[in-house]
C-alpha cells in the first residue's frame, strides 16, 4: 500500500499493539483526539483507554510514568507533543531512562519509545521547530532514531518498540505528509544502528538524516547537471552511530559534507566530522564541511528560510568541497 509517513507510523503502532499486549501508548491528546498530527488515530477505538492513554499536561511524568510501566513489564510508547517540550522531561530521560540498566546492573531495563515531532521547515510557532538531537546523542544509554521515508518510518518504529533500550524517536514534521511510498502491509523491522546509502555516487559523500535527506537529494540533482554525483547516506539511527558505513564511503570518496538543520556548533555534524577526521584523515582530500542551521534560535515563519538549509545551499557546499 502507498502510505505517507503518518500512516506508516500509525500502522506500525497498530500492528505492534496488536502483536504485543505489553505495548501501551500515552501522551497529551493522543487518544480521543488521535494526536495533534493524527499519528495515533484509531488506537483508542481499537485498544481502549487502558492502553491508549490521554495524560494530563506533564512531560516529565509522561516519561517518568513510562519508566515505571517498563519496570512493571510494559513497553510504553510515549508521545511528547513537540520536541520543544521534551526539555521538561530531560531529567527523567537522562537521569533515569538512560541509566537504569547500568544503575541496576541489568536488573531493570527501560524498553520505552519516546516519539516526538521534530524539525523545522513548516513555518511553525516558537518551540515547534526544534532539532536538538545532539542533546540526546551524547547521553550513554539512549538510542536516537530519525526516519526519512514512510518505509523506514514503519520499520524503524517497529524495531524501536521491540528494542530493549530507550529510544528517542524523532519524526520530521516536514516529512509527515510529504509523499507516499509503497509500504508492506506486514510488520517488519529496519534494524537500528544501520545507516543506508540512499544514492550511490562518487567523489563526495553527503551525510544527512530526516528532512535533510530530500534536501540532499535535490542538491544532488542540482549538481548532477554539472556532472557531479555525490553519494548520499541517510544515518537513520543517530545513536549509536553507524560509523562504519560513513567511514567506508568517505574512504572511497575522499570528501565529506554533513548536512543538518540543527545549529552548527556542537551539532551531531561535529561528531561526524571529528570521528572521520580521527579515523580517515589521510584519506580526506578536503576538510569536512558542515551545512547546517546557524547558531541562532530557529526563526519564526518570516525568517525561517534564512535558517533552513536549502538544496541550493547544500549544492553550493558540494561545489565548495570539490573546489578545495
Amino acid at each position: 500500500m502507498r502510505l505517507n509517513m503518518v500512516q506508516a507510523l500509525n500502522q506500525a503502532m497498530h500492528q505492534e499493539m496488536e502483536r504485543d499486549l505489553r505495548v501501551v501508548a500515552l501522551g497529551e491528546d493522543i487518544a480521543v483526539d488521535g494526536g495533534v498530527f493524527r499519528l495515533t488515530e484509531g488506537l483508542l477505538e481499537k485498544f481502549g483507554p487502558e492502553r491508549v492513554i490521554d495524560t494530563p499536561l506533564a512531560e516529565s511524568t509522561i516519561v517518568g510514568a513510562s519508566i515505571g510501566m517498563a519496570v512493571a513489564g510494559l513497553r510504553p510508547i510515549a508521545e511528547i507533543q513537540f520536541m520543544g517540550f521534551i526539555y521538561l522531561a530531560m531529567n527523567q530521560i537522562i537521569a533515569h531512562a538512560a541509566r537504569l540498566r547500568n544503575r541496576s546492573r541489568g536488573r531493570f531495563t527501560v524498553p520505552i519509545v519516546i516519539r516526538t515531532p521534530y524539525g523545522a521547515g513548516v513555518k511553525a510557532l516558537e518551540h515547534h521547530s526544534e532539532s536538538t538531537e545532539a542533546l540526546f546523542c551524547q547521553i550513554p544509554g539512549l538510542k536516537v532514531v530519525v526516519p526519512s521515508t514512510p518505509y523506514d518510518a514503519k520499520g524503524l518504529l517497529i524495531a524501536s518498540i521491540r528494542d530493549e533500550d530507550p529510544v528517542i524517536f524523532l519524526e520530521p514534521t516536514k516529512l509527515y505528509r510529504a509523499g507516499r511510498q509503497e509500504v508492506p502491509e506486514e510488520p517488519y523491522e529496519v534494524a537500528l544502528g544501520q545507516a543506508k546509502v540512499v544514492r550511490e555516487g562518487e567523489g563526495l559523500t553527503v551525510v544527512a538524516w530526516g528532512a535533510m535527506i530530500p534536501v540532499a537529494q535535490q542538491a544532488a540533482e542540482i549538481v548532477g547537471k554539472d556532472g557531479i554525483f555525490p553519494e548520499v547516506i541517510d544515518l537513520r539511527t543517530l545513536a549509536p552511530l553507524d560509523r562504519e558505513t560513513v567511514l567506508e564511503s568517505v574512504r572511497r570518496n575522499g570528501r565529506l559534507l554533513v548536512v543538518h538543520e540543527a545549529p552548527k556548533t556542537c551539532g551531531l555534524g561535529a561528531e561526524i566530522a571529528a570521528f572521520v577526521a580521527e579515523r580517515a584523515m589521510f584519506q580526506l582530500e578536503a576538510p569536512v564541511l558542515r551545512i547546517t542551521g546557524q547558531d541562532i534560535t530557529v526563526p519564526l515563519a518570516k525568517g525561517e528560510d534564512y535558517y533552513y538549509p536549502s538544496p541550493e545551499r547544500v549544492a553550493r557546499g558540494i561545489k565548495k568541497i570539490l573546489e578545495s
Binding site: L57, G84, K302
Partner: protein, 352 residues
C-alpha cells in the same frame, strides 16, 4: 450551579447590587468596548488565518470577560505574564494590536514589547511563565515597589511541575503574585476532569498555603472585582492569590485544531448562552449605558483600530538576515559574524 463561584452578573445580565463594583459609567462602557474590540480583533485574525495571511494562533473567543475584566484591574507598575491565549489582556493594557498580529504572522518583532508596558513575552511552553512571575514578584518585594505580578494560564497548565513549584515559592516567600487560571474546560482535547481529580482548580492553592477562589470567568465584573482585590492584597504585603476563572473556550484550540473531534456541539451551544459580552450588554442596557448607537460607535472604533493594525503589520518588512543574529547575545560573536556573512553571501548568489 457551579461550586462556590463568585458571580456579579447572572447569565441574563442581572447584578447582585451589593456586589456591583463602584465603577463610573465611562469605565463600564470602556469594559464593554474592550471586550467588543477583543472579539472583533480575534475574529479578524481568524479570517486572516484562513486567507493565509496569518499563521496558526489560539483564538480568544469566549475569554473576553476573564481577560478584560482582570487586566482592567492592573496598574501601570504591575507586571503581567501572559500565555498564548490573551488577546483581551493585551488590548486592555494598550499593547499595540499591530504587534500582536505581527507575532502571529511569524515575525519576532511583534514581541518587542513597548518599553513603557510591563508585559512579558508570550510563553509557549505551558505553565513555564509561572516561575518568571514569581521571580518578578520577589524582585518587587526586594525593591519595595508597590507592584504585583499577574500570571495567566490555562487549566492544563496546572498539571505541569512549574505550576506547583511556582505557587509553592509564592507561598513560602509570600510574594505579591496573582495567579489567574482560565479554566476553559479543555486543554486541547483533554477535558478538565481528565486533567485533575481535584473538584476545583481554586482548591489547589491550599497546597501552597494561600487562598484560592473561583470566579465566573464569563462575568467581567466578577473578574474585575476579584482581580482588583487580589492585586491590592498582593501590593500591600498580603501574599499571593489563585483565581480560577471558570469559563469556556468557544473556538478551536488553535486554528490547526478541530474541536468537533472531541466535544459535543450541545455543550458548545450550552455555553454560548453564557456569552460574556452578551451578558454584559444586557446589564449595560438595563443601566441605560448601552444602545444601538453606542454599539455602532464601539464597532466602528474597533474596525478602525483593527484595520490600522493590520495595515501596519502587513507593511512591516520581514526580518533582515541580521535581525536573526544580533539578538543572540548582547554582542555578536566571531562565529555568528562568520555565519551571517555566509548567509549574506548566499543571498547575493540569488534565490535559495
Amino acid at each position: 450551579m457551579i461550586k462556590d463561584m463568585f458571580q456579579v452578573l447572572t447569565e441574563n445580565g442581572r447584578a447582585a447590587p451589593e456586589r456591583e463594583p463602584k465603577l463610573p459609567a465611562s469605565d463600564l462602557q470602556k469594559l464593554y468596548s474592550l471586550m467588543a474590540t477583543t472579539r472583533a480583533a480575534d475574529l479578524k485574525a481568524l479570517k486572516l488565518q484562513r486567507q493565509g495571511r496569518m499563521g496558526t494562533f489560539a483564538p480568544s473567543l469566549g475569554h473576553e470577560a476573564c481577560q478584560v475584566g482582570s487586566a482592567f484591574a492592573l496598574q501601570p507598575k504591575d507586571w503581567v505574564f501572559p500565555y498564548f491565549r490573551d488577546l483581551g489582556t493585551y488590548i486592555t493594557l494598550g499593547f499595540p494590536l499591530k504587534n500582536y498580529y505581527l507575532y502571529w504572522m511569524g515575525n519576532e518583532e511583534g514581541m518587542r514589547i513597548p518599553a513603557d508596558l510591563n508585559i512579558f513575552t508570550i510563553s509557549v511552553p505551558v505553565g513555564s511563565q509561572l516561575p518568571h512571575s514569581v521571580g518578578c514578584a520577589m524582585a518587587m518585594k526586594y525593591k519595595k515597589e508597590q507592584a504585583a505580578a499577574l500570571a495567566y494560564f490555562g487549566d492544563g497548565a496546572t498539571s505541569e511541575g512549574d505550576f506547583s513549584e511556582a505557587l509553592n515559592f509564592a507561598g513560602v516567600f509570600k510574594t505579591p503574585n496573582v495567579f489567574i487560571c482560565f479554566n476553559n474546560q479543555y486543554a486541547i482535547s483533554t477535558p478538565v476532569k481528565r486533567q485533575t481529580a481535584a473538584e476545583t482548580i481554586a482548591q489547589k492553592a491550599n497546597a501552597y498555603g494561600f487562598d484560592g477562589i473561583r470566579a465566573d470567568g464569563n462575568d467581567v465584573l466578577a473578574m474585575y472585582i476579584l482581580t482588583r482585590e487580589a492585586l491590592e492584597k498582593a501590593r500591600s504585603g498580603g501574599g499571593p492569590t489563585l483565581i480560577e476563572a471558570f469559563t469556556y473556550r468557544m473556538g478551536n484550540h488553535t486554528t490547526s485544531d478541530d474541536a468537533s473531534r472531541y466535544r459535543k456541539e450541545t455543550e458548545v451551544n450550552d455555553w454560548s448562552r453564557r456569552d460574556p459580552i452578551e451578558r454584559f450588554r444586557l446589564y449595560l442596557k438595563d443601566k441605560g449605558l448601552w444602545d444601538e448607537s453606542f454599539e455602532d460607535r464601539v464597532q466602528k472604533e474597533a474596525e478602525v483600530l483593527i484595520s490600522k493594525a493590520l495595515e501596519e503589520a502587513e507593511s512591516t518588512p520581514p526580518p533582515r538576515p541580521e535581525d536573526l543574529f544580533i539578538h543572540t547575545y548582547k554582542d555578536m560573536t566571531p562565529e555568528l559574524n562568520d555565519q551571517l556573512a555566509e548567509l549574506r553571501d548566499l543571498l547575493k548568489g540569488g534565490p535559495r
